[in-house]
Symmetry: C2
Subunit: 562 residues, 2 copies
């Protein structure tokens, strides 16, 4: 495609987040973001009781309403197009990304079961952060380890309670009727595409990362039957064929960047876009950001740093990286292995600290200066030399996703004295998350998967001091994404590929993605100083990483609460 | 003495603290506290520059003005007598106690050198918390360890930078002229008695705990010469004879409870008390509190819990208790060994946390409820079951005095999550100090020195929740002192003995001291739960107690600051 054509063509990317959905209109030729709109979900996260009823939910439950997602299509998409000032007739495609694993039971025609039996909690979509299936995940992991299932190492040795199988097993065992009625068990990422096209499709990304699809198949019927005899046929509710394979009457897995179909008349009416434009295969918010950051080449690790951090990296090598979240063939771009790792809490740690442990004098001074408390603490922390606070912390306040895969770990802070101030701890917490990132990068490299470039996306980009800390701790230049709506831009790029405007995701990302190389460069002296502190972090990581002490504390806590 | 006599007689106790001096008038028959008065020191703690000059002090310096102490005699004593409504003519004695080691250079007639050369920093009294002699203490300890000096184990293996020899060596090496002019090197505890009586005396308590007087002598001339040839004759500036021994022209060490002399005409004019009444031998604030708590029998450990905690215990056995501050024959009461141990920071930790890490919402709610932030946090913490916060901390925020004797240790907090609130940490800090106390008690008992009763005095008594935590953690009933001015009451009791109203300190303490036994009794279930948390504390104590990690962090900090 030539750019003079694309210069007059546009694509829409829609990012379905935890509390809202965002649509962005992007120029196909160069990725310029021309307009965007956000729609907050009316039901938000459903955690206490079902909407319009007094049915109470258990602890660790988190649901969402499919109607909220449809409303994003109806509200945010037309608003974004209007804001962009483009003609809908010039829009050639739409792409979407979703939180994952957010998954729901549906009938064969895609009707969410919660539309039929809204009084049943298990009929509703389970949001990614629904954690009530932990016992089920534990059983899956124990059995898989015992049987030596070949797919287990692809997930760093453990699958998550957030994923499809654990959540489905919970439905089966707690509400067999709903399980039975669920002809389809489908990621919201795929369900929303079904709503747009009228045709069911399944993307390879969620199938691989959340659906344990590896080497052409799901966990065996035999394995599932050993978990629970009634679970044996579960995969019949998923896709039934590989990419490029005839699935018969079943649903084929679809490659990322491919068209899932075209916009249906109904969806055209919702969105105001022309019927028949390309609809891209579904995707995950983190993974699609790789395209937005033009980081779809092997060894470009994208860290999407927000409340938590997700690390996404394509590679030409397959390896078992300890504690990774997953490695999936074609999981980020076709033709490469896609790696995912993560830090459970990053921005969440800073927010927690500011909310719970910063005294009035600081909030007052921040207000006087017209800055946020975060900015005030950052400014104070930035005045210090490396190590001046005398602190080192383990960044496990939300558990540890990579490389320990242990949600029952907790935070450790060392070195406080009666002279320690909030800005000291704040800086130590920032540094701790950087040490956590370095641990992940080093684990990849030690496992034979080179990290050629570290590319940052996400909300924490707005803190240059934090970015510099990461550059110094990682001892490498940081690249940064050039957009503050990475997932939506990434979805738009996928839409451009699906619409045929580019040959593949790489070409589209090169033209439309935005990445500034070496935006932050390490300072040698500071990096040397951080090496000493990182050695302390590693010692603590080693000592407490076995979980013994922290698990005992957690057990004491849980017993005391019971 | 019969009580119908003592019922009409009174004694005055004067407690010289860090920021003020307090006088209390006490009935001899029963210890009733009839009136008291406080005088704040005009110069407070001199830490930055010398009074009335621009001479700057170095880091870690802390001085006081002898004039402030005299002013306590002139202001607080008459005010207390007036407040008590007793006739000065019925006052039969006065006793004093002081912070220690607070020490000054003086001429042979007791004139403080700072009265003659106020422009010289080393001419001023060095307050207990003057820590600038650490390098000198380090050399003393290293040499004593190398030579195997017999007195070293009496101090848990290390003498403190706060003590007489370290501070004197600093004077010698930094200002030899002042060292030379100092005919006397005297504890403020003894200097103030000199001012009252006109005669120099030296108490056995400070001589033993702060002056390394053991088994009838000071460190040898040979030892001192090896430190610095010019230091060889240092002990000539101290007392020169033992208790009960003829000191020739020198100054005899005096037993606690003995009269140091009688009130001089000059001191009578200052205080408004009758010339010629008994003046007790000087004492230390912590040690004299044992009498006030009627805890002068073997195995009664008095914990004076305030900003820090000091543990004082008489015993009939001599043992080398690891990490104790000192064991001194006759050091609390004549005829018994007196043990001292300590926790560097206790109330200071809670104050630091409230000052630096409690957000506005808490201070606002406390204000709305008309309570202190401490009380508000305590109330919230008290609602929790043991272990519910999931935390355990090492109480080393001010270093560790006993049992590790390491001021370069620092705090450790384990188990925080994004749900951790200030009341959780506040409770964990209280508990950490209780674990520290238990570690001290267990160390004494393991060393063959039984702790029969744990008696609490000091400002933290006013927090019943904290007291209950200590009872539960220690698994033993707590006795509590019946006075909130323990040191001054103890000094008054010593004055009664010096005046001959009682045969000895034990008899006076039995009549005038105030102790409630089993004021707090452990709850079995909570004690069991605390046993599990204490085991975690002990693991951390073991792991970080070698100081390796924390010393490296401290070194990194100090280099970064330099």
């Amino acid at each position: 495609m030539e750019s003079h054509v694309n210069a007059n063509k546009f694509v829409v990317g829609v990012d379905f987040g935890t509390l809202s959905g965002r649509a962005v209109v992007v120029r196909v030729s160069d990725g310029a973001e021309l307009g965007s709109a956000v729609h907050e979900y009316a039901h938000g996260v459903i955690e206490r009781e079902l909407p319009g009823s007094d049915v109470r939910l258990g602890p660790d439950w988190a649901l969402q309403s499919p109607q909220d997602w449809i409303d994003v299509l109806r509200v945010a998409v037309p608003a974004a197009v209007a804001a962009a000032g483009v003609s809908p007739a010039d829009v050639i495609g739409i792409g979407t990304d979703f939180t994952a694993c957010t998954v729901l039971p549906a009938t064969a025609d895609g009707t969410p079961l919660c539309f039929e039996t809204p009084e049943l909690p298990h009929a509703w979509p389970k949001l990614w952060k629904h954690h009530a299936a932990q016992p089920h995940a534990d059983r899956i992991n124990a059995l898989a380890a015992r049987r030596g299932e070949s797919w287990l190492p692809r997930y760093g040795g453990k699958i998550s309670s957030e994923w499809e199988f654990a959540k489905a097993l919970q439905v089966l065992e707690e509400d067999p009727g709903t399980y039975e009625r669920a002809e389809r068990w489908i990621e919201a990422a795929d369900w929303i595409v079904w709503q747009l096209t009228g045709v069911e499709s399944r993307n390879i990304c969620t199938a691989g990362y959340k659906g344990i699809f590896q080497d052409g198949g799901y966990p065996s019927e035999d394995f599932l039957a050993e978990l629970n005899p009634a679970f044996a046929g579960f995969t019949g509710k998923l896709a039934t064929g590989q990419v490029g394979e005839d699935a018969g009457k079943g649903v084929r897995l679809a490659a990322l960047g491919a068209p899932a179909g075209t916009l249906s008349a109904r969806a055209a009416a919702w969105t105001g876009l022309p019927e028949g434009v390309a609809v891209a295969v579904g995707n995950v918010d983190a993974h699609v950001t790789a395209a937005a950051a033009d980081a779809v080449a092997p060894g470009r690790m994208v860290a999407i740093m927000g409340t938590s951090t997700c690390h996404i990296m394509p590679s030409d090598r397959l390896a078992e990286v300890p504690g990774m979240c997953g490695v999936v063939r074609d999981g980020i771009v076709p033709g490469l292995w896609g790696y995912e790792a993560g830090q459970s809490a990053v921005g969440d740690i800073f927010a927690w600290f500011v909310d719970a442990f910063v005294p009035a004098a600081y909030t007052r001074r921040a207000a006087e200066q017209g800055v946020s408390v975060h900015a005030h603490l950052t400014a104070l922390a930035a005045e210090q030399a490396v190590g001046q606070h005398g602190l080192v912390a383990l960044d496990w306040f939300g558990g540890n996703r990579s490389v320990l895969v242990d949600h029952n770990l907790s935070g450790v802070v060392l070195g406080q004295t009666l002279a320690t101030r909030p800005e000291d701890v704040y800086r130590a917490l920032i540094e701790a998350t950087a040490y956590g990132a370095r641990t992940i990068v080093e684990t990849f490299e030690k496992s034979g998967v080179p990290v050629e470039e570290f590319v940052v996306a996400g909300g924490l980009l707005k803190n240059p001091f934090l970015m510099q800390v990461y550059a110094d701790v990682l001892r490498r230049p940081l690249s940064v994404i050039g957009s503050d709506q990475g997932p939506a831009l990434g979805s738009a790029i996928h839409a451009a590929v699906a619409a045929g405007a580019y040959d593949d995701i790489q070409a589209a990302a090169a033209a439309m993605g935005k990445r500034t190389e070496a935006a932050y460069v390490p300072d040698e002296a500071r990096a040397d100083a951080y090496d000493r502190l990182y050695a302390e972090y590693r010692d603590l990581h080693e000592h407490f990483g076995d979980g013994k002490a922290l698990h005992r504390l957690r057990a004491i806590r849980n017993e005391a609460r019971a």
